[in-house]
């Protein structure tokens, strides 16, 4: 048992750090960490820089353009990105649809899609959730009816993040209306430019446009765009959701926010001197730091176990990472928002903001704080709500 990074791993970390330092565009760096999500163009730019370096698809097999890293290297890479902070390679492409295609897709699909997915020539969004099917995904109703060589798709998706940026969607649709819930669903790739698709923005609580509703009105999609077998889409979705979940704790993101809170506290007056000297603030930071240390080691332990099991199945213990990871993301966002104090109460988007006292960099740091906190509440809802994670732990691990 050995918790420390090997010299080779430490060297790799230095290489990643140096690359980020030298290649992350200044315009992206300036925004970094201030808003809850990056703008589409920033993601594209940085993703392509990483792809040029061969680092965009960190856990893909080498034959499809993966760098051939170990699980620990992948973890180091993601944490360095989050902590920098810099945008991650687009998760929909890299962690989600890509592995489904290289695992279950046809030779033609692999040849056509994988390079474009890796290079972000195709931006994919995920069409899973529906108005009647949030955490209960299997009750989805969007229908794909076979008509010659096409499916004709009708229905509605919701919480489709980045649909307004996307070129393609990977979508779950019901291809057998008579089958039981989880059966009769297929996994279909849809070109977002197809006639009959309407994207309607959903503005989230931070005032930003992250996500959308997507409506399908007789949208014709070639049957060759279905991945894998008809009516087996649920299996592919489960594979997708269980894939590479060790990064979901996003420890690096929370570490970055903790640093930001501590820096900001040095600029703020509390009842007795600087907030950074306030014993309660300091203790809260220490408690978060401890929580993050524990979470980081837990993530590494689960990576290690998965590497040894090597059966490709999701480890239910990764629910810990989603659960506690989301909570620490929220806690760290909240900490920054609390440090911002009354200065955080002004709206940042669209309006004129009259603060003067701080210099520009610090000021900007204060101003994104509360909207970030607002949007952080989504972390325990999206991607398997905390309640769902606890169900998984109590059933799959404890056998209750």
């Amino acid at each position: 048992m050995d918790l420390s990074y090997t010299p080779a791993e430490l060297e790799f970390r230095e290489e990643v750090r140096a690359f980020i330092r030298d290649n992350l565009p200044e315009s992206i760096r300036a925004k970094a960490g201030l808003s809850a999500n990056y703008h589409g163009q920033d993601v594209r730019t940085w993703h392509r820089i990483l792809n040029d370096r061969g680092w965009a698809a960190s856990h893909w097999p080498v034959e499809y353009g993966g760098p051939g890293w170990s699980a620990v290297q992948r973890y180091i890479f993601m944490e360095e990105l989050l902590q920098a902070p810099a945008p991650e390679p687009l998760s929909f492409n890299i962690n989600m649809v890509g592995p489904v295609i290289y695992t279950f897709g046809s030779a033609e699909q692999k040849a056509h899609f994988l390079p474009k997915i890796r290079s972000l020539d195709y931006w994919f969004c995920q069409g899973f959730s529906e108005p009647g099917a949030g955490s209960d995904l299997a009750s989805l109703r969007t229908a794909a009816v076979r008509d010659g060589d096409d499916y004709v798709i009708n229905g509605q998706k919701i919480w489709t993040s980045t649909a307004h940026e996307a070129d393609w969607m990977f979508c779950l649709a019901r291809t057998d209306a008579t089958a039981k819930k989880q059966e009769g669903i297929s996994f279909i790739l849809i070109d977002m430019a197809t006639p009959g698709i309407t994207v309607r923005p959903i503005i989230t609580i931070d005032g930003e446009h992250h996500t959308n509703e997507v409506f399908f009105d007789n949208v014709r999609v070639p049957v060759t765009n279905r991945v894998g077998e008809e009516n087996k889409g649920w299996d592919y979705a489960k594979f997708l959701l269980g894939n590479e979940r060790t990064g979901i704790a996003r420890v690096g993101l929370s570490k970055g926010r903790l640093q930001r809170a501590r820096r900001l506290a040095e600029l703020s007056e509390a009842l007795d001197g600087k907030l950074s000297d306030d014993p309660f603030f300091r203790r809260r930071c220490i408690e978060l730091e401890i929580e993050l240390k524990a979470l980081e080691i837990t993530a590494l332990r689960i990576i290690d176990r998965q590497r040894k099991r090597n059966d490709g199945k999701p480890d239910p213990a990764s629910s810990i990472l989603k659960l506690r990871g989301a909570e620490t993301q929220q806690f760290s966002a909240e900490l920054v928002a609390e440090v911002a104090g009354p200065l955080g109460l002004a709206q940042t988007h669209g309006g004129h903001v009259p603060w003067q006292e701080f210099d520009e960099a610090d000021l900007t740091a204060v101003l994104g704080a509360v909207p970030n906190y607002f949007y952080s509440r989504a972390a325990t809802i999206y991607g398997g709500a905390s309640e769902i994670q606890k169900n998984i732990i109590s059933k799959a691990i404890l056998g209750l």
Binding site: S139, I205, F374, I381
Partner: protein
């Protein structure tokens, strides 16, 4: 001991509730916020007609002689419907300056205010204050029979609508001293005064107000020069009690929305509300709301306590409990609403933003816990 509303109070409550039911749908609220000042003058006139603007003033002053409990009845109903009019800022905070001071012309201002003829605002908070009431860096330099004001106020509710601003400025001492603060009544459009409106995170309207060598006549000083802190402290105390009432109304509304959602939203083959973990969360929200209600009553009662230390301690007690309850109820309202809870459009999102603003208004939980400890070390 008696927790029953008097018949006058019941009438007041019925009236405000009726107004809210008739006038304050979520759509209507959006329209009010889109008006030039960020709120509705028409609603304000109705407040005047219903007598809400006089609730906080003694009859001797031209008001209707209500207690802080009456004010709380109003703000609780306003909290339920997310009212955007600057009632607390104008009637309670700026009104508090009138209630807790004596100066020539006070009765006239109150009379105008009660009729809805004048809007008032308290310009006290500053950028570096971080909740500390005695933080005043705006200076008032006496030159003959005038004072020259320099400095900057922020988060001023109704700052761009007010006919009269009550402005705190320092005549002596250092930035955080309780001594040496004076209050000035400054009319709208005064030379050297620049008012910049902006929106708060909850969509409410605020202003930053800059004083650049603004000359104010010495007659505009309210109370004893240099002794303004005691007046401001009383006014903010009233504000805390009023905000506690608003917070309780807001939490009631959040809980109601969530319970309705749990009853009607179907997932996994039945209503969400049949899941025990969610039921228990809703029960915890209920308990947090009731504990907050108790402390709002306590705050309302204690605003009139003559013992400075005990009164300030009680206000901080209330703000701590209210802050904790808001934090829990607000976050859980979002969580239990699922995806829709984090959208800007849904009412819970609006309520959560307001609850976040109220958590901080007049000081967050940490601030008031530290303040209590400071006061206890003085006892």
């Amino acid at each position: 001991m008696d927790f029953e509303l008097s018949s006058e109070q019941s009438m007041l409550k019925d009236g405000v509730d009726r107004f809210m039911a008739q006038r304050y749908s979520q759509d209507a609220r959006g329209r009010f916020m889109a008006e030039p000042e960020g709120w509705s003058r028409d609603n304000w006139r109705q407040f005047a007609d219903m007598g809400l603007l006089g609730v906080g003033f003694d009859e001797a002053l031209g008001g209707f002689g209500g207690s802080m409990v009456d004010t709380m009845i109003v703000t609780e109903a306003f909290g339920q419907g997310l009212v955007v009019e600057p009632y607390i800022g104008s009637a309670v905070l700026a009104g508090g300056i009138l209630r807790h001071s004596e100066f020539a012309g006070r009765e006239d201002i109150v009379a105008d205010f009660v009729q809805g003829a004048r809007i008032l605002a308290l310009a006290h908070e500053e950028e570096g204050a971080r909740y500390l009431l005695s933080h005043v860096s705006t200076t008032a330099r006496q030159v003959g029979d005038r004072y020259v004001l320099d400095g900057r106020k922020v988060n001023v509710i109704a700052g761009d609508s007010a006919d009269i601003l009550f402005v705190t400025a320092r005549v002596s001492g250092s930035v955080r001293d309780e001594k040496g603060i004076s209050i000035f009544a400054v009319p709208k459009d005064h030379p050297g005064v620049t008012i910049e409106p902006y929106l708060g995170i909850d969509g409410s309207r605020h202003a930053a107000i800059t004083f650049a060598a603004a000359e104010i006549p010495a007659t505009a000083v309210i109370g004893q020069p240099g002794h303004g802190f005691a007046i401001v402290e009383r006014a903010i105390g009233d504000g805390i009690a009023a905000v506690c009432g608003e917070a309780v109304g807001l939490m009631d509304a959040m809980l109601k929305t969530v319970v309705e959602y749990l009853k009607t939203r179907n997932q996994f083959g039945g209503p969400l509300g049949r899941f025990q973990a969610l039921q228990h969360r809703a029960a915890d929200m209920y308990v947090a709301t009731e504990q907050a209600r108790s402390m709002a009553i306590y705050a309302a009662m204690m605003t009139s306590d003559a013992n400075d230390l005990e009164r300030r301690r009680a206000m901080s007690f209330a703000k701590v409990q209210i802050g904790k309850s808001l934090h829990f109820v607000g976050q859980q309202a979002v969580q239990l609403s699922g995806g829709i809870g984090v959208t800007d459009e849904y009412i819970v999102g609006q309520q959560f933003k307001r609850s976040t603003a109220l958590e901080r208004q007049f000081g967050d939980v940490d601030h008031h816990l530290s303040l209590i400890d400071h006061l206890d070390r003085r006892r």
